[in-house]
């Protein structure tokens, strides 16, 4: 397995407000890495900076050994994909238009978009039934599936997902995570940012924990002994009774 996404000493934030303070993380092809951390730990900021939506204030991000310093568009063209939090699809467009837009970077490749749409419908049959509906009319779970399918359209080599479970009912979460688990099969490198511990650990190969802008735990899931440290990082130390 090769290192697909390497983050070294990343510092990021908004102006004087530094949210990510020296984060290093390596994700490999064919592996699913989950980055856990409670809200406010800096997860979304990390992903936005990797994708070039926010400028890095320090450190480096590289894809397949190539340092990424350019715009978001150039990083997407280099094989990066990001599913943003909040089921962020183009709500005023139909399902199929959203998928086409997902393939924007491969639009000149003959048949790439049509094949991508076929693959998307195979993966998420419900989207085919709703292909001509506006994305805003979909349920939360369906919007999340559409967001993932959209990011997969250009066949990225590294896919990052930002809290895909947020705002979804438990049964839907299971379904979505089932799909996420299957993504690594074709050698895709997946970086999943989550708050839900157990669903994530069930599908992940590696786990990293982000707290106050730094990685506090970084190990293989199988080597993770107890969940207590994770739990404390979320809910605080047990209250003495």
């Amino acid at each position: 397995m090769t290192d697909a996404l390497v983050i070294t000493d990343l510092v990021a934030g908004y102006g004087q407000l530094k949210i990510v303070r020296g984060l290093s993380l390596t994700c490999r092809s064919g592996e699913l890495t989950v980055l856990l951390g409670r809200n406010g730990a800096g997860k979304t900021t990390t992903l936005s900076t990797i994708a070039g939506l926010l400028p890095a204030l320090g450190g480096e991000v590289s894809l397949h050994g190539v340092p990424q310093r350019g715009s978001t568009v150039s990083r997407i063209k280099s094989g990066l994909g990001l599913v943003q939090e909040g089921k962020r699809v183009f709500r005023a467009r139909t399902v199929e238009e959203n998928l086409k837009l997902g393939g924007y970077t491969v639009r000149r490749k003959r048949g790439a978009i049509d094949e991508g749409i076929v693959r998307a419908y195979e993966r998420f049959p419900i989207l085919k039934d709703k292909r001509h509906q506006l994305a805003s009319a979909l349920s939360g779970g369906q919007q999340q599936m559409l967001a993932i399918a959209q990011a997969l359209m250009p066949q990225p080599t590294v896919l990052m997902l930002d809290e895909p479970s947020a705002g979804l009912a438990p049964s839907i979460v299971e379904e979505v995570f089932g799909e996420i688990a299957s993504l690594t099969r074709d050698g895709l490198c997946v970086l999943l940012v989550e708050q839900l511990i157990d669903h994530s650990l069930a599908v992940a190969d590696r786990v990293a924990v982000l707290d106050h802008g730094r990685i506090t735990i970084d190990t293989e899931v199988s080597k993770l002994g107890s969940w207590d440290t994770l739990r404390e990082s979320y809910l605080g130390a047990p209250v003495a009774e």
């Binding site: 407000l17 409670r38 406010g40 947020a166 708050q195 157990d198």
Partner: protein, 604 residues
């Protein structure tokens, strides 16, 4: 040699522009020739047009291009009635009333839609002028123009060149004084808040359409007055004086002088009149020249001459020391006043977005003297609930009661006026205000004063502004940030901004305080300071609802925690109860975590 902050704030600096104005007024007695006087009158008239535009554009943030049409309205009305034999003061008043009427007529519809609709409506008005003049040819003289306007007379006395000049300068000084008072009064602060953050303005109880319309109509008044003076100056009015190039020249002068300033209007007008408007060689090239000015000014010249001067004064001539009332507050901190919190009761609140149900019948109760925390994973509907309570969203079903008042479905500014105060996830601190002014801005609706009172700085306004300052110093002192009172608020670090937001939220003496993620982005010390503040407010009797992700903080400060998940309340109780509630653990960590927690519980 630097001035102390105290001198800067207390010294009547308005004496300086007034003195300059009086000197300009005295020019004819110092041997200025007729040409110079004509030139100064042109500058004064343009300055009146520009200072009006600055109120609408620089302060209220609405681009109005119709100053030249309103100028024309003033000129035609004054000219017509002057021919009918009315005195100068009367025609001036008529012209100003006509200007206000045109402002109301175009501002009402023009302010309805996005940021460019007022610009287009007023631009259309300028282009319409020839048609209107033709249409009312009997009154306006049609395309031939309105001629035969008599020399101005003041209470029966004919004015000569010198006395008319003095009168024009006096009117200009009067309008500058009134508008200067208006922008330094609470109304000016309110306009800045609205321009920088409409959302914040609504949460402070401001009615945005009303504020904008007021500012826009006020901006028309000096244009009307200038029109009437213009009619006498030339003795002849024709629509060619008020066309497109005039409209553009006014805007260019505003941008050069600095749109968000009063005295900048005089600079801009002087530069334009002495420069391009006079030089006959430039006559043909005036339109391309103005065009370039707008492009370059819009791109690079944000603050104009006035902005440059203000920055220079602040950096060179001002000491960074504390005001006496700040020092007093530091020495003997005033006590936190008792807060009269009311009970919030939400029942069965439902809110949908398209196919998604964000809130599926939520109940919530928060009592005075208690901290009620609202927690839940991302996407659970916490912020939606806060927005429903504070009037930024309208619920489909359910009721919200504050005390014994039904506040369901009130708009944000109405909810604010009924006693709801809030902070924001991203602190909303407008640019260009001091810390004390930020707090004071929340009292604009709590203790309202009229625009006229503000323009004349009547005792009512002075008293209210004194109380604004006292309240601000008191609250800033309670929050422990009073030493920043006279600093620029947008320079504060994030933690201090959040505390400042809480101070502002308290300034309107709220019955309910909503804190939206106040600890996010704060370091540990700042979180600690925030916790102390929240506890003190609770002990003073406030009703506090807090949405927060920082679990430790919530556990420590809350009296009750309600847990929202997928738009429904899944648990509620004391911090200890909620912390060990299996449903809560599952919603945060997942099902397996719940099973582990339950297994651990059984072992005990």
């Amino acid at each position: 040699m630097k001035l102390s902050m105290r001198t800067y704030k207390r010294f009547p600096f308005w004496i300086i522009p007034l003195a300059i104005g009086l000197v300009v007024m005295a020019l004819p007695f110092m041997g200025a020739n007729r040409g110079t006087l004509r030139l100064v009158i042109s500058i004064a008239l343009l300055a009146l047009l520009v200072v009006g535009l600055n109120i609408a554009f620089g302060y209220a943030g609405e681009l109005a291009l119709g100053q030249s049409a309103i100028y024309a309205a003033g000129a035609y009305f004054a000219g017509y009635f002057a021919i009918k034999g009315l005195d100068l003061p009367l025609t001036l008043v008529i012209a100003v009333i006509a200007a206000a009427a045109v402002g109301l007529l175009t501002g009402g519809p023009g302010l309805r839609l996005g940021s460019w609709s007022l610009g287009m409506v007023t631009f259309f008005l300028v282009l319409l002028l020839p048609d209107i003049v033709t249409l009312f040819g009997d009154y306006t003289g049609g395309t031939a123009g309105l001629s035969g306007i008599p020399l101005p007379s003041l209470f029966g006395q004919k004015l000569n060149n010198t006395t008319f000049y003095v009168f024009v300068i006096a009117i200009t000084i009067l309008f500058f004084a009134l508008l200067r008072n208006y922008v330094v009064s609470r109304h000016g602060t309110a306009l800045k808040v609205m321009r920088e953050s409409p959302v914040l303005a609504r949460s402070l109880g401001y009615s945005i359409p009303r504020l904008k319309l007021t500012a826009y109509v006020i901006s028309a008044l000096p244009a009307g007055a200038a029109g009437s003076l213009f009619a006498y100056q030339d003795g002849y009015v024709s629509d060619v004086s008020f066309g497109f190039s005039m409209a553009v020249a006014i805007l260019a002068a505003s941008i050069i002088g600095g749109s968000a300033s009063i005295y900048g209007a005089a600079f801009g007008a002087a530069i334009l009149v002495i420069g391009p408007l006079r030089a006959s060689a430039l006559q043909d090239w005036s339109l391309p020249f103005f065009g370039l000015l707008l492009i370059v000014g819009g791109l690079f010249f944000a603050g104009g001459v006035a902005g440059l001067l203000t920055r220079l004064i602040h950096s060179r001539f001002l000491k960074d020391d504390l005001m006496p009332d700040v020092l007093a507050a530091l020495e003997s901190p005033p006590p936190l006043p008792a807060i009269d919190g009311k009970t919030l009761k939400g029942v069965g609140i439902v809110k949908r977005f398209g196919g998604n149900v964000a809130l599926a019948g939520v109940d919530l109760e928060a009592r005075p003297g208690r901290v009620t925390a609202l927690i839940g994973p991302n996407g659970s509907g916490k912020t939606t609930l806060l927005n429903v309570i504070s009037g930024f969203l309208k619920p489909e079903e359910g009721t919200v009661m504050l005390g014994d008042r039904d506040i369901t479905g009130l708009k944000a500014h109405q909810a604010s006026r009924s006693g709801i105060s809030r902070t924001f996830q991203t602190p909303q601190i407008p640019q260009g205000l001091t810390v004390a002014e930020v707090v004071e801005s929340a009292r604009f609706r709590t203790e309202p004063t009229s625009v006229i009172s503000g323009m004349l700085t009547l005792p009512g306004t002075r008293r209210a502004m004194r109380r604004d300052r006292e309240a601000a110093i008191q609250l800033l002192s309670v929050m422990g940030i009073v030493e920043y009172a006279d600093r620029q608020a947008d320079e504060l670090p994030l933690g201090t901004r959040r505390v400042l937001e809480v101070a502002r939220a308290l300034a309107s003496e709220p019955a309910l305080l909503l804190l939206d993620e106040p600890a996010s982005g704060l370091d540990e010390q700042e979180v600690e300071a925030l916790a102390v503040v929240i506890r003190r407010l609770r002990d003073a009797g406030a009703t506090i609802v807090i949405v927060e992700h920082n679990f430790e903080l919530v556990m420590r400060i809350s009296d009750r925690i309600d847990v929202l998940h997928l738009g429904g309340m899944i648990a509620g109780g004391t911090p200890a109860e909620v912390r060990n509630d299996p449903a809560v653990i599952e919603s945060y960590l997942g099902k397996a975590a719940r099973e582990r927690a339950e297994a651990a519980e059984e072992k005990k």
